[in-house]
């Protein structure tokens, strides 16, 4: 089956998907309760979309197509309140964070949709290690070529999003020393990584995809676990490197940072993307995963080393006018505070671990952060 046609959408519209953790209130372990929660949520209109995910201890929520930070944040907050309220009725806590700090993957049940059953059959223990929680941001593109242009132009900014969203320092009960341990699980998948370099949709769909399909390795775009992938049926590109942050405020901030960045890139004032940009791609990504905002990245064009924190702050200085045009100044303030002062949520979780002395305390802090916002 050939790749479906790219359905054009309004440029710079956005949508956010968050994978959230369901946690029991007793020892803070993951709770296989997605069915119960979905059953309860079905009884009232939901302010967005909620769907089951890979395992019973995860649900995914999605916003409508949004244009501005204000309404996006408002919808995310409404979704959060609805979820938290439903969780309270069922004695389930809901939390953000890219990993559950101590869940043991072999105890997670795979959700019973056929596609997921097939995945777990294929990937074995990896499928269960895939109990990680990400934020996906969709950005609408007016044409498929615009989508590929944005997808590849964003390559140098991918470390920003990893470092800013990182919220998975703990895995299997220990501090991994990574700010985003989640991405290590994602990288284990054979079709993870970056999209092949081409700026022409015609070539992407009719040459690359057709060849890949003929190998029998893939059947649809869903089989690619790329960091950024085009989503023809929505007419968007989808950024998939972010951990689910602890708060919806941070999630909205990240989405609007991406939106402003795309507006900037579409002015085409930056040098155009090229294959050689990817020479430093995996190095930069590793630095962002491992060290977060303190990581050092190499600028693919100038080949200069700069800390990810500095690079974000420098980028923000270019985005002012775009934020004004998009009405997202509050979002960029959130990003600036994160980079310059507060640090990412991985830092926050490590601090909570030091204070409470237990991984359960870390989950408790995540649960409270989603509900009330992080402690000062």
């Amino acid at each position: 089956m050939p790749l479906e046609t790219f359905k054009a959408s309004d440029s710079l519209t956005m949508g956010v998907e968050l994978e959230l953790q369901l946690v029991n209130t007793y020892d803070m372990d993951l709770s296989s309760s997605a069915n119960d929660l979905l059953e309860l949520l079905r009884r009232k209109p939901f302010p967005g979309v909620v769907t089951p995910e890979m395992t019973q201890s995860m649900i995914e929520i999605a916003t409508d197509v949004q244009r501005e930070h204000g309404p996006l944040l408002a919808q995310l907050q409404q979704i959060r309140d609805t979820l938290v309220h439903a969780g309270d009725r069922l004695n389930i806590e809901i939390a953000g964070g890219g990993t559950h700090p101590f869940q043991r993957w072999f105890e997670q049940r795979i959700f019973s949709k056929p596609r997921f059953q097939q995945l777990s059959g294929l990937y074995g223990y990896l499928a269960k290690q895939f109990t990680v929680f990400g934020q996906h941001v969709h950005i609408g593109c007016a044409s498929p070529d615009e989508a590929l242009f944005l997808l590849h132009s964003l390559n140098r900014y991918v470390p920003h999003f990893i470092a800013l969203s990182a919220s998975s320092p703990f895995s299997q009960g220990v501090d991994t020393l990574f700010d985003s341990a989640r991405l290590n699980s994602v990288f284990a998948f054979p079709l993870s990584g970056r999209a092949p370099f081409t700026l022409s949709w015609d070539e992407f769909a009719n040459v690359y995809f057709t060849k890949m399909e003929s190998t029998g390795v893939v059947r649809s775009m869903k089989d690619f676990y790329w960091d950024i992938r085009p989503k023809p049926e929505y007419g968007t590109i989808e950024l998939r490197v972010c951990d689910t942050p602890l708060t919806v405020e941070r999630a909205a901030g990240l989405a609007c940072y991406l939106q402003a960045l795309c507006r900037h890139l579409l002015e085409r004032s930056e040098p155009p993307p090229e294959e050689d940009d990817y020479l430093v791609y995996t190095y930069n990504r590793f630095q962002a995963c491992r060290f977060g905002l303190d990581g050092m990245m190499v600028n693919p064009k100038t080949r200069e080393q700069i800390s990810i924190r500095e690079d974000i702050l420098a980028t923000l200085r270019h985005l002012g006018p775009h934020a004004d045009a998009l009405n997202s100044q509050a979002a960029l303030d959130e990003i600036e505070r994160t980079a310059a002062r507060d640090g990412n949520h991985a830092t926050y979780l490590r601090k909570q671990y030091a204070e409470s002395g237990s991984v359960q305390g870390v989950v408790r802090a995540s649960v409270d952060a989603l509900r009330f916002g992080p402690k000062a």
Binding site: T25, Y26, D27, E39, L40, D88, R109, Q117, G357, S358
Partner: protein
């Protein structure tokens, strides 16, 4: 060489019975998925049937050990109770209380068809409220089940046990009052047991977490401290003539509110908990006198039907209101079927404190207990499996 052979056999009976129970539990679980606790009960019943020396003779210390074992379970059950949930979802609490009251009334009325004194009927009614925490917690832990049925069964089980202890002790107080006319004795037999047990449990529930924090105890050692605290609590309960079960349940509930985290690796107090569970179920089953089983069987079956009907009926009625489905309500009600150690130890304890009808009640209940001990855990297990709340979902 060995000269006193009967003595040797007698002293070996217990450990051997436990070992057999354990092996049987694993084997039958593997082959037919029989809940382990049912196998333990079966071994205890067999021991009682063949009158295994050493098993059925009164061995000093065993009731105490059984109380410790069950108290650990009750502590864990209490620890799983989220009081905040009752605030967010008052229907769960209401369901527990209404169902307890109806079960009491229904069993009391039903027992009227049989020739029994009012005292005995009241005792039956109050014990029938309870569900077996040991059976339910153990089955839920074995299956690592999670979901609404599991949560509700545990919370309802705790409410059932609390109401059961309350009703039971009030009945005992009433009995003391009506037989001796001594108000002081009556008050001692009920109010003192209830109030002081709760107070002691709550006090420890505050003190233990405080100690853990002050000493900065490592997360993995928390379980040991709580286990020892439960042993201490049981000893104190014996000394002060309190209800160790009520105290342990309160201890768990209060400790949880103090937000000390138990590590999930040691659900059920780990290996020590496993060992004590084997003992508890073999012991409780061995207390049954087979001679009583036949005579009380019809009575027992009637009570089981009535008890199950009220539990299931209430649970189904409240299901949708409380945010679940009728199907899960039905399964929740069924999963509450087991009834054993809690009721029996409650009776035993009261006998120790001078409640004479206890022995008679125990023998009249033999038929009911036999069925519920042996098959109750199977019902719970099947209900949790049917609810798809267990760790492996086969489809």
């Amino acid at each position: 060489m060995v000269t006193d052979f009967p003595f040797l056999l007698q002293s070996m009976a217990w450990p051997l019975a436990l070992l057999i129970a354990w092996f049987l539990g694993e084997r039958l679980h593997e082959i037919w998925q029989v809940p382990r606790v049912s196998s333990y009960v079966a071994v205890g019943l067999l021991g009682s049937l063949i009158n295994l020396p050493g098993l059925t003779d009164a061995v000093p210390g065993l009731p105490f050990l059984a109380n410790v074992a069950l108290s650990l379970v009750l502590f864990e059950l209490g620890y799983r109770i989220n009081l905040r949930w009752f605030r967010h979802n008052p229907w769960v609490m209401a369901l527990g209380l209404v169902e307890s009251a109806l079960t009491f009334a229904a069993v009391y009325l039903a027992s009227g068809w049989f020739d029994m004194g009012t005292d005995t009927r009241l005792i039956f009614a109050s014990l029938s409220i309870s569900a077996s925490p040991a059976g339910i917690v153990r089955v839920a832990n074995d299956l690592r089940s999670a979901g609404q049925v599991t949560e509700r069964v545990l919370h309802l089980c705790a409410i059932n046990c609390l109401v059961s202890v309350l009703a039971f002790n009030l009945v005992v107080g009433y009995w003391h009052l009506s037989t001796s006319g001594d108000l002081v004795l009556a008050a001692f037999g009920s109010v003192h047991v209830l109030v002081t047990s709760v107070a002691v449990g709550a006090l420890l529930g505050v003190a233990a977490p405080w100690l853990l924090r002050a000493q900065r105890v490592q997360a993995r050692d928390v379980t040991v401290v709580f286990a020892l605290a439960v042993v201490l609590l049981t000893t104190m309960a014996y000394g002060l003539k309190l209800s160790p079960l009520l105290a342990a349940l309160t201890f768990g509930i209060v400790a949880r509110e103090r937000r000390v985290h138990l590590t999930n690796a040691q659900r059920g107090f780990g290996t020590a908990g496993d060992l004590l569970t084997v003992f508890l179920f073999v012991y409780i089953a061995s207390l049954l006198n087979w001679a009583d089983v036949g005579t009380g069987m019809l009575f027992g079956l009637v009570l089981i039907v009535v008890r199950t009907a009220t539990k299931v009926g209430c649970s189904v009625a409240a299901a949708r209101l409380s945010g679940s489905t009728e199907r899960k309500g039905l399964l929740t009600g069924l999963a509450l079927t087991p009834m054993s150690a809690f009721a029996i130890l409650l009776l035993e304890q009261s006998r120790l404190y001078g409640f004479e009808p206890a022995a008679h009640v125990l023998s009249s209940m033999a038929g009911m207990m036999l069925v519920l001990e042996l098959f109750g855990p199977v019902v719970t297990q099947r209900a949790l499996l049917a609810a798809h709340e267990t760790h492996v979902t086969k489809e």
